[in-house]
Symmetry: C3
C-alpha cells in the first residue's frame, strides 16, 4: 500500500516517466514487505515550484506514503535510491530534491480498510 | 474541517464532478461531528498515474484529511462510501482505488488554528 | 526542511506568485529554526475545488509540512501570516482558507535523511 508522488518544476517526457516508474517499482522493495504489486504512483511535471526562493533550476518534491511503518535505515536506502533515479533520468541535482515520508494508520483498498 | 482530495488518471466531467461533490458532502457525515458545512474538496483528473506498474485502466487516489480523529469503524464506512461513489459515477473498479486517511493536530481556519 | 503547498481555485498571476513566494519566505521564520534557506514551495492555481458545497468564490488549501515539530503558538502565528498574505495578494477571504500542518519524522535531502 505504498504511494509515491513525484512533483517537479521540469518536464518529464512519457519515455522518462515510464523508466522512472519501472525503477521506482524496484526501489520500493527496499521497504520490507512492499513491492510494485501494491505500489501506486503519480507524476506532476511543469509545476510552479521554488526552493530557497528560486525557481531557475530543477526542483523535486517526492512524497512516499505507506501503510504501517518501516525502519529508519529502510527509509534511508529508499531516499538514496529515489534521489539517484531522479538524477539519472531527469538530471535533477540531489541538493534540489526532498523525499518526505508519511506513515499511515488508516488506509482503504477495494472498499475496505486494511 | 475535513478535506478530501480525489486524484485520478481518467477524465471527470463537470457534471460528474458536481454529483460526486454532492455525494461526498453526504458521505462525510459518516464521520461523527463532520458535515459538508466544513468540508473542502479538490478534484484532479487526467493525472499521470500508475498502479501495479500499469496505467491502462482507471486508477484513483483519495486522501481524507481531518482535524482530530475518528474510530476505525467510521473510517471503514467512509472508505466503502467513497469507493461506491467512484464506482457509480466514474466506473472506477474498487480494486484500483486507494483511500488514505490523515489525522491532523494543527489546522487553521479564518486566520486561527482550531 | 519546510514545504508549503498552496492550492486554490482562482488564478495566480506570475507577478502575484513571486510576491507570495517572497512573503512566505519571511513568514516561515515564525517557526523557530526555519528559514527560506530550506523552504520549498509549490503553487497550483485554477484547481477544481469546493467548500461548503460551493465553488463560486475563491478557496484555498495550504499545507505546511515540516521536519520535526513546533509549538502551537508558532503554528498559530504562521496561520495568521499565511491567511493575511493570501488576503492581501489574492483577495481570498480568510473564512475560505484552510492551513493544515504536518509534522514529519522522516525527511530526505541530498540523498540522505535528516
Amino acid at each position: 500500500m505504498p504511494y509515491i508522488s513525484t512533483k517537479t518544476n521540469i518536464v518529464i517526457t512519457k519515455e522518462k516517466e515510464t523508466t522512472i516508474k519501472e525503477k521506482l517499482g524496484k526501489a520500493i522493495e527496499l521497504i520490507p514487505g512492499k513491492s510494485e504489486h501494491w505500489l501506486m504512483l503519480s507524476f506532476e511535471d511543469n509545476a510552479s515550484m521554488y526552493f530557497q526562493g528560486k525557481s531557475d533550476s530543477g526542483i523535486a518534491f517526492v512524497e512516499v506514503k505507506l501503510f504501517g511503518s518501516a525502519s529508519s535505515s529502510a527509509y534511508d536506502k529508499l531516499t538514496a535510491a529515489i534521489t539517484d533515479i531522479l538524477k539519472e533520468e531527469l538530471e535533477l541535482a540531489p541538493d534540489k530534491v526532498y523525499v518526505k515520508y508519511e506513515e499511515v494508520s488508516n488506509w482503504g483498498y477495494n472498499g475496505n480498510n486494511f
